[in-house]
Amino acid sequence: MDRVLTLLSFGREGWGDDIAAGVLVTISLALATLPFGLVVGFAVALGKRSEEAALRLAANIYTTIFRGLPELLTLFLVYYGAQIGVQQLWRLLGGTGGIEINAFVAGMVALGAVFSSYASEVFLSAFRAIPAGQYEGAYAIGLSRWLTMRFVILPQLIRVALPGLSNLWLILLKETALVSVIGLSDILRQTGIASRVTKEAFLFFGIACLLYLVLAMLSSVVLSAIERRVSAGGAPR
Protein backbone atom coordinates (compact mmCIF):
# COMPACT_ATOMS: atom_id res chain seq x y z
CA MET A 1 0.00 0.00 0.00
CA ASP A 2 2.82 2.36 0.91
CA ARG A 3 4.47 1.63 -2.39
CA VAL A 4 1.25 2.46 -4.27
CA LEU A 5 0.93 5.75 -2.42
CA THR A 6 4.54 6.61 -3.16
CA LEU A 7 4.02 5.83 -6.81
CA LEU A 8 1.02 8.11 -6.95
CA SER A 9 2.45 10.98 -4.93
CA PHE A 10 3.25 14.34 -6.42
CA GLY A 11 6.99 14.46 -6.35
CA ARG A 12 10.18 13.07 -7.72
CA GLU A 13 9.33 9.55 -6.60
CA GLY A 14 5.71 9.59 -7.66
CA TRP A 15 3.83 9.92 -10.89
CA GLY A 16 0.94 12.02 -9.55
CA ASP A 17 2.12 15.27 -11.10
CA ASP A 18 2.80 13.68 -14.50
CA ILE A 19 -0.63 12.11 -14.58
CA ALA A 20 -2.26 15.36 -13.46
CA ALA A 21 -0.54 17.09 -16.39
CA GLY A 22 -2.01 14.40 -18.63
CA VAL A 23 -5.49 15.09 -17.26
CA LEU A 24 -5.02 18.76 -18.13
CA VAL A 25 -4.00 17.88 -21.69
CA THR A 26 -7.02 15.60 -22.12
CA ILE A 27 -9.42 18.23 -20.81
CA SER A 28 -7.93 21.06 -22.82
CA LEU A 29 -7.95 19.00 -26.02
CA ALA A 30 -11.62 18.11 -25.54
CA LEU A 31 -12.51 21.71 -24.65
CA ALA A 32 -10.58 23.07 -27.64
CA THR A 33 -12.29 20.63 -30.00
CA LEU A 34 -15.80 21.36 -28.74
CA PRO A 35 -16.46 24.88 -30.14
CA PHE A 36 -14.86 24.00 -33.47
CA GLY A 37 -16.94 20.83 -33.72
CA LEU A 38 -20.16 22.58 -32.71
CA VAL A 39 -19.78 25.41 -35.23
CA VAL A 40 -18.84 23.13 -38.12
CA GLY A 41 -21.56 20.67 -37.14
CA PHE A 42 -24.16 23.42 -37.12
CA ALA A 43 -23.01 24.68 -40.51
CA VAL A 44 -23.13 21.17 -41.96
CA ALA A 45 -26.64 20.70 -40.56
CA LEU A 46 -27.70 23.96 -42.25
CA GLY A 47 -26.19 22.66 -45.47
CA LYS A 48 -28.08 19.39 -45.17
CA ARG A 49 -31.44 21.09 -44.88
CA SER A 50 -30.71 23.67 -47.57
CA GLU A 51 -32.91 23.89 -50.63
CA GLU A 52 -29.83 23.72 -52.81
CA ALA A 53 -29.13 20.18 -53.95
CA ALA A 54 -25.42 20.95 -54.37
CA LEU A 55 -25.10 22.15 -50.79
CA ARG A 56 -26.97 19.13 -49.47
CA LEU A 57 -24.72 16.78 -51.41
CA ALA A 58 -21.55 18.50 -50.20
CA ALA A 59 -22.72 18.26 -46.59
CA ASN A 60 -23.70 14.61 -46.97
CA ILE A 61 -20.30 13.71 -48.42
CA TYR A 62 -18.68 15.30 -45.38
CA THR A 63 -20.65 13.24 -42.88
CA THR A 64 -20.37 10.04 -44.87
CA ILE A 65 -16.60 10.31 -44.83
CA PHE A 66 -16.05 11.24 -41.22
CA ARG A 67 -18.65 8.88 -39.81
CA GLY A 68 -17.36 6.01 -41.91
CA LEU A 69 -13.65 6.23 -41.16
CA PRO A 70 -12.20 4.81 -37.96
CA GLU A 71 -11.26 7.71 -35.68
CA LEU A 72 -7.71 6.41 -35.40
CA LEU A 73 -7.34 6.37 -39.18
CA THR A 74 -8.76 9.90 -39.45
CA LEU A 75 -6.17 10.99 -36.91
CA PHE A 76 -3.34 9.39 -38.89
CA LEU A 77 -4.62 10.81 -42.17
CA VAL A 78 -4.66 14.30 -40.67
CA TYR A 79 -1.38 13.94 -38.80
CA TYR A 80 0.76 12.34 -41.51
CA GLY A 81 -1.19 13.83 -44.43
CA ALA A 82 -0.85 17.36 -43.12
CA GLN A 83 2.78 16.71 -42.34
CA ILE A 84 3.46 15.71 -45.95
CA GLY A 85 1.30 18.49 -47.37
CA VAL A 86 2.86 21.23 -45.29
CA GLN A 87 6.32 19.93 -45.94
CA GLN A 88 5.79 20.00 -49.68
CA LEU A 89 4.30 23.49 -49.51
CA TRP A 90 7.27 24.59 -47.43
CA ARG A 91 9.72 23.23 -50.00
CA LEU A 92 7.73 24.86 -52.79
CA LEU A 93 8.07 28.17 -51.01
CA GLY A 94 11.80 27.61 -50.85
CA GLY A 95 12.04 26.67 -47.19
CA THR A 96 14.68 24.34 -45.94
CA GLY A 97 14.57 21.83 -43.15
CA GLY A 98 11.54 20.07 -41.78
CA ILE A 99 8.34 21.33 -40.29
CA GLU A 100 6.59 19.49 -37.48
CA ILE A 101 2.84 19.38 -37.28
CA ASN A 102 1.60 19.93 -33.78
CA ALA A 103 0.00 16.74 -32.44
CA PHE A 104 -2.48 18.81 -30.45
CA VAL A 105 -3.71 20.64 -33.55
CA ALA A 106 -3.87 17.41 -35.56
CA GLY A 107 -5.91 15.82 -32.77
CA MET A 108 -8.17 18.83 -32.62
CA VAL A 109 -8.83 18.79 -36.37
CA ALA A 110 -9.41 15.02 -36.57
CA LEU A 111 -11.61 14.78 -33.48
CA GLY A 112 -13.41 17.97 -34.49
CA ALA A 113 -14.22 16.57 -37.92
CA VAL A 114 -15.65 13.40 -36.40
CA PHE A 115 -17.53 15.31 -33.70
CA SER A 116 -19.00 17.76 -36.19
CA SER A 117 -20.33 15.09 -38.51
CA TYR A 118 -22.17 13.40 -35.64
CA ALA A 119 -23.27 16.78 -34.26
CA SER A 120 -24.75 17.72 -37.62
CA GLU A 121 -27.11 14.74 -37.34
CA VAL A 122 -28.14 15.84 -33.85
CA PHE A 123 -28.78 19.40 -35.05
CA LEU A 124 -30.65 18.10 -38.08
CA SER A 125 -33.10 16.07 -36.03
CA ALA A 126 -33.50 19.00 -33.64
CA PHE A 127 -34.38 21.22 -36.61
CA ARG A 128 -37.03 18.71 -37.60
CA ALA A 129 -38.57 18.94 -34.14
CA ILE A 130 -39.28 22.65 -34.59
CA PRO A 131 -42.65 23.25 -36.28
CA ALA A 132 -42.79 25.39 -39.42
CA GLY A 133 -45.20 27.73 -37.63
CA GLN A 134 -42.28 29.08 -35.60
CA TYR A 135 -40.59 30.34 -38.77
CA GLU A 136 -43.87 31.61 -40.22
CA GLY A 137 -44.74 33.45 -37.04
CA ALA A 138 -41.32 35.06 -36.85
CA TYR A 139 -41.42 36.16 -40.51
CA ALA A 140 -44.98 37.44 -39.98
CA ILE A 141 -43.87 39.84 -37.28
CA GLY A 142 -41.14 41.06 -39.61
CA LEU A 143 -38.02 39.39 -38.26
CA SER A 144 -35.24 38.85 -40.76
CA ARG A 145 -33.90 35.37 -41.43
CA TRP A 146 -30.93 35.98 -39.16
CA LEU A 147 -33.05 37.38 -36.33
CA THR A 148 -35.48 34.49 -36.65
CA MET A 149 -32.62 32.04 -36.34
CA ARG A 150 -31.02 33.88 -33.45
CA PHE A 151 -34.05 34.67 -31.28
CA VAL A 152 -36.72 32.16 -32.25
CA ILE A 153 -35.16 28.99 -33.59
CA LEU A 154 -31.82 28.69 -31.80
CA PRO A 155 -33.17 28.89 -28.23
CA GLN A 156 -35.59 26.06 -28.96
CA LEU A 157 -33.04 24.15 -31.00
CA ILE A 158 -30.52 24.10 -28.17
CA ARG A 159 -33.10 22.70 -25.81
CA VAL A 160 -33.93 19.84 -28.17
CA ALA A 161 -30.34 19.14 -29.21
CA LEU A 162 -28.75 19.28 -25.76
CA PRO A 163 -29.19 15.62 -24.73
CA GLY A 164 -27.69 14.45 -28.04
CA LEU A 165 -24.83 16.92 -27.78
CA SER A 166 -24.12 15.88 -24.18
CA ASN A 167 -23.77 12.34 -25.38
CA LEU A 168 -21.36 13.45 -28.10
CA TRP A 169 -19.28 15.33 -25.52
CA LEU A 170 -18.89 12.15 -23.47
CA ILE A 171 -17.84 10.29 -26.62
CA LEU A 172 -15.37 13.05 -27.49
CA LEU A 173 -13.84 12.84 -24.02
CA LYS A 174 -13.15 9.14 -24.56
CA GLU A 175 -11.87 9.61 -28.08
CA THR A 176 -9.19 12.02 -26.95
CA ALA A 177 -7.39 8.90 -25.69
CA LEU A 178 -6.42 8.19 -29.31
CA VAL A 179 -4.05 11.15 -29.47
CA SER A 180 -1.75 9.33 -27.08
CA VAL A 181 -0.80 7.28 -30.15
CA ILE A 182 0.60 10.29 -32.01
CA GLY A 183 2.60 11.33 -28.99
CA LEU A 184 0.46 13.84 -27.14
CA SER A 185 0.98 13.52 -23.39
CA ASP A 186 -2.61 12.90 -22.36
CA ILE A 187 -3.87 10.70 -19.51
CA LEU A 188 -3.32 7.45 -21.34
CA ARG A 189 0.19 8.26 -22.54
CA GLN A 190 1.36 9.45 -19.13
CA THR A 191 -0.04 6.41 -17.36
CA GLY A 192 1.44 4.23 -20.10
CA ILE A 193 4.90 5.68 -19.48
CA ALA A 194 4.46 5.26 -15.74
CA SER A 195 3.41 1.65 -16.14
CA ARG A 196 6.37 0.86 -18.34
CA VAL A 197 8.87 2.41 -15.95
CA THR A 198 7.39 0.99 -12.75
CA LYS A 199 6.10 -2.33 -14.16
CA GLU A 200 2.78 -1.65 -12.45
CA ALA A 201 0.64 -1.72 -15.57
CA PHE A 202 -2.63 -2.74 -13.96
CA LEU A 203 -2.40 -0.03 -11.32
CA PHE A 204 -1.68 2.77 -13.76
CA PHE A 205 -4.07 1.76 -16.53
CA GLY A 206 -6.72 1.19 -13.85
CA ILE A 207 -6.09 4.74 -12.69
CA ALA A 208 -6.39 5.98 -16.27
CA CYS A 209 -9.81 4.30 -16.53
CA LEU A 210 -10.88 5.77 -13.20
CA LEU A 211 -9.78 9.24 -14.28
CA TYR A 212 -11.86 8.97 -17.46
CA LEU A 213 -14.80 7.83 -15.34
CA VAL A 214 -14.38 10.79 -13.01
CA LEU A 215 -14.24 13.16 -15.98
CA ALA A 216 -17.41 11.58 -17.36
CA MET A 217 -19.17 11.95 -14.02
CA LEU A 218 -18.12 15.58 -13.63
CA SER A 219 -19.32 16.27 -17.18
CA SER A 220 -22.65 14.63 -16.42
CA VAL A 221 -23.12 16.88 -13.40
CA VAL A 222 -22.28 20.00 -15.38
CA LEU A 223 -24.35 18.95 -18.39
CA SER A 224 -27.45 18.15 -16.37
CA ALA A 225 -27.10 21.54 -14.64
CA ILE A 226 -26.98 23.19 -18.08
CA GLU A 227 -29.93 21.14 -19.22
CA ARG A 228 -32.00 22.20 -16.21
CA ARG A 229 -31.00 25.80 -16.77
CA VAL A 230 -31.86 25.75 -20.46
CA SER A 231 -35.18 24.02 -20.05
CA ALA A 232 -36.19 26.18 -17.08
CA GLY A 233 -37.10 29.16 -19.24
CA GLY A 234 -39.10 27.24 -21.78
CA ALA A 235 -42.74 26.38 -21.99
CA PRO A 236 -43.52 22.93 -20.60
CA ARG A 237 -43.39 20.26 -23.20
Binding site: E52, L55, L72, M217
Partner: protein
Protein backbone atom coordinates in the same frame (compact mmCIF):
# COMPACT_ATOMS: atom_id res chain seq x y z
CA UNK B 1 -57.91 52.58 -84.79
CA UNK B 2 -55.11 50.23 -85.56
CA UNK B 3 -55.44 46.75 -86.90
CA UNK B 4 -56.99 44.20 -84.68
CA UNK B 5 -54.33 42.38 -82.78
CA UNK B 6 -54.73 38.65 -82.33
CA UNK B 7 -55.73 37.75 -78.82
CA UNK B 8 -52.88 36.32 -76.87
CA UNK B 9 -53.71 32.89 -75.63
CA UNK B 10 -52.42 32.61 -72.14
CA UNK B 11 -54.65 30.06 -70.55
CA UNK B 12 -53.18 26.92 -72.03
CA UNK B 13 -49.53 27.81 -71.60
CA UNK B 14 -47.85 26.54 -68.46
CA UNK B 15 -46.33 29.22 -66.27
CA UNK B 16 -42.70 29.87 -67.12
CA UNK B 17 -40.31 27.99 -64.87
CA UNK B 18 -38.94 30.19 -62.13
CA UNK B 19 -35.58 31.55 -63.10
CA UNK B 20 -32.72 29.66 -61.41
CA UNK B 21 -31.06 32.61 -59.85
CA UNK B 22 -27.53 32.43 -58.55
CA UNK B 23 -28.16 32.74 -54.85
CA UNK B 24 -25.41 32.76 -52.30
CA UNK B 25 -26.38 29.28 -51.11
CA UNK B 26 -26.16 28.00 -54.66
CA UNK B 27 -22.75 29.52 -55.22
CA UNK B 28 -21.52 28.09 -51.94
CA UNK B 29 -22.93 24.68 -52.79
CA UNK B 30 -21.24 24.61 -56.15
CA UNK B 31 -17.98 25.82 -54.64
CA UNK B 32 -18.04 23.09 -51.98
CA UNK B 33 -18.96 20.38 -54.46
CA UNK B 34 -16.10 21.50 -56.68
CA UNK B 35 -13.81 21.36 -53.66
CA UNK B 36 -14.84 17.76 -52.98
CA UNK B 37 -14.46 16.94 -56.69
CA UNK B 38 -10.97 18.45 -56.77
CA UNK B 39 -10.05 16.51 -53.65
CA UNK B 40 -11.45 13.27 -55.08
CA UNK B 41 -9.73 13.73 -58.43
CA UNK B 42 -6.53 14.72 -56.65
CA UNK B 43 -6.55 11.55 -54.57
CA UNK B 44 -7.31 9.48 -57.64
CA UNK B 45 -4.48 11.11 -59.61
CA UNK B 46 -2.17 10.60 -56.67
CA UNK B 47 -3.08 6.91 -56.49
CA UNK B 48 -2.66 6.48 -60.25
CA UNK B 49 0.61 8.37 -60.44
CA UNK B 50 2.10 6.39 -57.57
CA UNK B 51 0.76 3.13 -58.87
CA UNK B 52 3.42 0.59 -58.24
CA UNK B 53 2.79 -3.01 -59.31
CA UNK B 54 5.53 -4.30 -57.10
CA UNK B 55 4.03 -2.60 -54.07
CA UNK B 56 0.63 -3.95 -54.99
CA UNK B 57 1.84 -7.47 -55.37
CA UNK B 58 3.57 -7.28 -52.06
CA UNK B 59 0.89 -5.63 -49.97
CA UNK B 60 -2.42 -6.73 -51.51
CA UNK B 61 -2.35 -10.16 -49.79
CA UNK B 62 -1.37 -8.48 -46.53
CA UNK B 63 -4.24 -6.04 -46.72
CA UNK B 64 -6.58 -8.93 -47.49
CA UNK B 65 -5.37 -10.89 -44.47
CA UNK B 66 -5.64 -7.73 -42.35
CA UNK B 67 -9.20 -7.23 -43.49
CA UNK B 68 -9.98 -10.83 -42.60
CA UNK B 69 -8.51 -10.33 -39.12
CA UNK B 70 -10.67 -7.23 -38.65
CA UNK B 71 -13.80 -9.08 -39.71
CA UNK B 72 -13.00 -12.06 -37.49
CA UNK B 73 -12.30 -9.82 -34.51
CA UNK B 74 -15.54 -7.88 -34.90
CA UNK B 75 -17.68 -10.96 -35.59
CA UNK B 76 -16.25 -12.91 -32.66
CA UNK B 77 -16.54 -10.13 -30.12
CA UNK B 78 -19.98 -8.99 -31.26
CA UNK B 79 -21.34 -12.53 -31.00
CA UNK B 80 -19.69 -13.26 -27.66
CA UNK B 81 -20.81 -9.83 -26.47
CA UNK B 82 -24.37 -10.61 -27.49
CA UNK B 83 -24.33 -13.73 -25.30
CA UNK B 84 -22.79 -11.86 -22.38
CA UNK B 85 -25.22 -8.96 -22.77
CA UNK B 86 -28.27 -11.08 -21.89
CA UNK B 87 -27.38 -11.72 -18.23
CA UNK B 88 -26.23 -8.10 -17.88
CA UNK B 89 -29.49 -6.75 -19.26
CA UNK B 90 -31.42 -9.10 -16.95
CA UNK B 91 -29.24 -7.94 -14.06
CA UNK B 92 -29.99 -4.31 -14.84
CA UNK B 93 -33.70 -5.07 -14.51
CA UNK B 94 -33.27 -7.32 -11.51
CA UNK B 95 -35.30 -6.59 -8.38
CA UNK B 96 -32.35 -7.48 -6.21
CA UNK B 97 -30.51 -4.28 -5.38
CA UNK B 98 -26.94 -5.63 -5.34
CA UNK B 99 -27.35 -7.42 -8.66
CA UNK B 100 -28.83 -4.34 -10.31
CA UNK B 101 -26.05 -2.17 -8.88
CA UNK B 102 -23.40 -4.59 -10.10
CA UNK B 103 -24.83 -4.66 -13.61
CA UNK B 104 -25.15 -0.88 -13.60
CA UNK B 105 -21.54 -0.54 -12.46
CA UNK B 106 -20.38 -2.86 -15.23
CA UNK B 107 -22.24 -0.91 -17.90
CA UNK B 108 -21.14 2.45 -16.50
CA UNK B 109 -17.49 1.44 -16.39
CA UNK B 110 -17.33 0.04 -19.91
CA UNK B 111 -19.33 2.84 -21.46
CA UNK B 112 -17.52 5.56 -19.52
CA UNK B 113 -13.92 4.69 -20.32
CA UNK B 114 -12.12 4.66 -23.69
CA UNK B 115 -11.91 1.32 -25.45
CA UNK B 116 -8.20 1.95 -25.89
CA UNK B 117 -7.69 2.25 -22.13
CA UNK B 118 -9.70 -0.94 -21.55
CA UNK B 119 -7.61 -2.78 -24.11
CA UNK B 120 -4.40 -1.59 -22.44
CA UNK B 121 -5.79 -2.59 -19.06
CA UNK B 122 -6.34 -6.13 -20.31
CA UNK B 123 -3.24 -6.51 -22.47
CA UNK B 124 -0.61 -4.81 -20.32
CA UNK B 125 -2.45 -4.66 -17.00
CA UNK B 126 -3.18 -8.36 -16.61
CA UNK B 127 0.54 -8.98 -16.92
CA UNK B 128 0.77 -7.68 -13.33
CA UNK B 129 -1.09 -10.80 -12.24
CA UNK B 130 1.13 -13.17 -14.08
CA UNK B 131 1.67 -15.56 -11.18
CA UNK B 132 -1.98 -15.73 -10.25
CA UNK B 133 -2.98 -16.28 -13.87
CA UNK B 134 -0.37 -18.98 -14.24
CA UNK B 135 -1.85 -20.75 -11.24
CA UNK B 136 -5.30 -20.71 -12.83
CA UNK B 137 -3.80 -21.69 -16.15
CA UNK B 138 -5.04 -18.60 -17.98
CA UNK B 139 -1.69 -16.96 -18.52
CA UNK B 140 -1.28 -18.62 -21.90
CA UNK B 141 -4.56 -17.07 -22.97
CA UNK B 142 -3.83 -13.53 -21.84
CA UNK B 143 -0.26 -13.49 -23.13
CA UNK B 144 -1.54 -13.34 -26.66
CA UNK B 145 -2.49 -9.91 -28.03
CA UNK B 146 -5.26 -11.34 -30.20
CA UNK B 147 -6.98 -13.06 -27.26
CA UNK B 148 -6.68 -9.91 -25.18
CA UNK B 149 -8.21 -7.84 -27.95
CA UNK B 150 -11.15 -10.22 -28.36
CA UNK B 151 -11.61 -10.33 -24.58
CA UNK B 152 -11.56 -6.54 -24.13
CA UNK B 153 -13.81 -5.93 -27.13
CA UNK B 154 -16.30 -8.55 -25.94
CA UNK B 155 -16.55 -6.99 -22.48
CA UNK B 156 -16.94 -3.55 -24.06
CA UNK B 157 -19.58 -4.40 -26.61
CA UNK B 158 -21.50 -6.50 -24.07
CA UNK B 159 -22.08 -3.35 -22.01
CA UNK B 160 -23.42 -1.45 -25.02
CA UNK B 161 -25.49 -4.37 -26.25
CA UNK B 162 -27.01 -4.90 -22.81
CA UNK B 163 -28.32 -1.34 -22.93
CA UNK B 164 -29.69 -1.84 -26.45
CA UNK B 165 -31.41 -5.05 -25.38
CA UNK B 166 -32.87 -3.45 -22.26
CA UNK B 167 -34.16 -0.46 -24.17
CA UNK B 168 -35.69 -2.66 -26.85
CA UNK B 169 -37.49 -4.89 -24.34
CA UNK B 170 -38.77 -1.87 -22.46
CA UNK B 171 -40.11 -0.42 -25.69
CA UNK B 172 -42.59 -3.29 -25.96
CA UNK B 173 -45.73 -2.14 -24.19
CA UNK B 174 -46.99 -3.67 -20.96
CA UNK B 175 -50.22 -4.53 -22.69
CA UNK B 176 -48.36 -7.13 -24.75
CA UNK B 177 -47.31 -8.97 -21.60
CA UNK B 178 -50.80 -8.73 -20.15
CA UNK B 179 -52.47 -9.91 -23.33
CA UNK B 180 -50.09 -12.84 -23.57
CA UNK B 181 -50.72 -13.91 -20.01
CA UNK B 182 -54.47 -13.46 -20.56
CA UNK B 183 -54.16 -15.91 -23.45
CA UNK B 184 -52.51 -18.34 -21.09
CA UNK B 185 -49.02 -18.25 -22.58
CA UNK B 186 -46.20 -19.16 -20.26
CA UNK B 187 -43.48 -16.64 -19.48
CA UNK B 188 -40.99 -18.32 -21.79
CA UNK B 189 -43.53 -18.50 -24.61
CA UNK B 190 -44.39 -14.84 -24.12
CA UNK B 191 -40.77 -13.83 -24.32
CA UNK B 192 -40.02 -16.00 -27.32
CA UNK B 193 -43.11 -15.42 -29.43
CA UNK B 194 -44.39 -12.00 -28.37
CA UNK B 195 -41.67 -9.85 -26.85
CA UNK B 196 -38.48 -10.79 -28.68
CA UNK B 197 -39.84 -10.42 -32.24
CA UNK B 198 -41.08 -6.93 -31.45
CA UNK B 199 -38.01 -5.95 -29.46
CA UNK B 200 -35.61 -7.08 -32.17
CA UNK B 201 -37.33 -4.78 -34.63
CA UNK B 202 -36.59 -1.82 -32.38
CA UNK B 203 -33.09 -3.08 -31.65
CA UNK B 204 -32.10 -3.63 -35.27
CA UNK B 205 -30.83 -0.13 -35.95
CA UNK B 206 -28.90 0.25 -32.68
CA UNK B 207 -27.36 -3.19 -33.22
CA UNK B 208 -26.30 -2.14 -36.70
CA UNK B 209 -24.77 1.02 -35.30
CA UNK B 210 -22.94 -1.01 -32.69
CA UNK B 211 -21.42 -3.24 -35.36
CA UNK B 212 -20.31 -0.18 -37.32
CA UNK B 213 -18.80 1.30 -34.15
CA UNK B 214 -16.99 -1.96 -33.48
CA UNK B 215 -15.54 -2.06 -37.00
CA UNK B 216 -14.26 1.47 -36.57
CA UNK B 217 -13.12 0.85 -33.01
CA UNK B 218 -11.31 -2.33 -33.96
CA UNK B 219 -8.64 -0.21 -35.65
CA UNK B 220 -7.05 0.40 -32.25
CA UNK B 221 -5.90 -3.22 -31.90
CA UNK B 222 -3.14 -2.22 -34.29
CA UNK B 223 -1.55 -0.48 -31.30
CA UNK B 224 -1.25 -3.71 -29.32
CA UNK B 225 0.43 -5.45 -32.28
CA UNK B 226 -2.56 -7.27 -33.74
CA UNK B 227 -2.20 -7.08 -37.51
CA UNK B 228 -5.71 -6.20 -38.55
CA UNK B 229 -6.36 -3.91 -41.53
CA UNK B 230 -5.06 -0.92 -39.59
CA UNK B 231 -2.08 -2.88 -38.31
CA UNK B 232 -1.11 -3.98 -41.82
CA UNK B 233 -1.52 -0.41 -43.00
CA UNK B 234 0.73 0.91 -40.29
CA UNK B 235 3.33 -1.72 -41.06
CA UNK B 236 3.17 -0.95 -44.78
CA UNK B 237 3.54 2.77 -44.09
CA UNK B 238 6.44 2.24 -41.73
CA UNK B 239 8.28 0.27 -44.43
CA UNK B 240 7.50 2.35 -47.52
CA UNK B 241 6.72 5.85 -46.19
CA UNK B 242 4.19 5.91 -48.97
CA UNK B 243 1.07 7.82 -47.98
CA UNK B 244 -1.10 5.83 -50.38
CA UNK B 245 -1.07 2.98 -47.85
CA UNK B 246 -3.31 5.05 -45.59
CA UNK B 247 -5.54 6.17 -48.44
CA UNK B 248 -6.19 2.59 -49.49
CA UNK B 249 -7.07 1.68 -45.93
CA UNK B 250 -9.45 4.64 -45.75
CA UNK B 251 -11.17 3.55 -48.96
CA UNK B 252 -11.57 -0.01 -47.69
CA UNK B 253 -12.96 1.05 -44.31
CA UNK B 254 -15.31 3.58 -45.91
CA UNK B 255 -16.73 1.08 -48.35
CA UNK B 256 -17.28 -1.61 -45.69
CA UNK B 257 -19.02 0.77 -43.32
CA UNK B 258 -21.13 2.29 -46.09
CA UNK B 259 -22.17 -1.12 -47.42
CA UNK B 260 -23.12 -2.27 -43.95
CA UNK B 261 -25.12 0.89 -43.30
CA UNK B 262 -27.05 0.44 -46.52
CA UNK B 263 -27.69 -3.24 -45.86
CA UNK B 264 -29.11 -2.42 -42.44
CA UNK B 265 -31.32 0.28 -43.96
CA UNK B 266 -32.66 -2.24 -46.45
CA UNK B 267 -33.29 -4.93 -43.85
CA UNK B 268 -35.05 -2.46 -41.59
CA UNK B 269 -37.28 -1.20 -44.39
CA UNK B 270 -38.13 -4.77 -45.33
CA UNK B 271 -38.91 -5.86 -41.78
CA UNK B 272 -41.00 -2.82 -40.91
CA UNK B 273 -43.04 -2.77 -44.10
CA UNK B 274 -46.16 -3.81 -42.17
CA UNK B 275 -45.92 -0.76 -39.92
CA UNK B 276 -47.80 2.35 -40.94
CA UNK B 277 -45.48 5.30 -41.14
Amino acid sequence: MSAVRPAVVTEDLPPPPPARRMTRARALGIALISLWAVLGVGIMLFLISSLNPELFQRYLPRYASGLWVTIKLVALSVLAGALLSVPIALGRNSRSRPIAALAYGYVYFFRGTPLLAQTFLVYYGLGSFREELQVVGLWGFFRDAWNCAVFAFTLNTAAYQAEILRGAIQSVGRGQWEAASALGLSRLQTIRKIIVPQALLVALRPYGNEIVLMIKGSAIVAIITVYDLMGETRRAYARTFDFQTYIWAALIYLSIVEMLRRAIDRIERRLTRHLIR
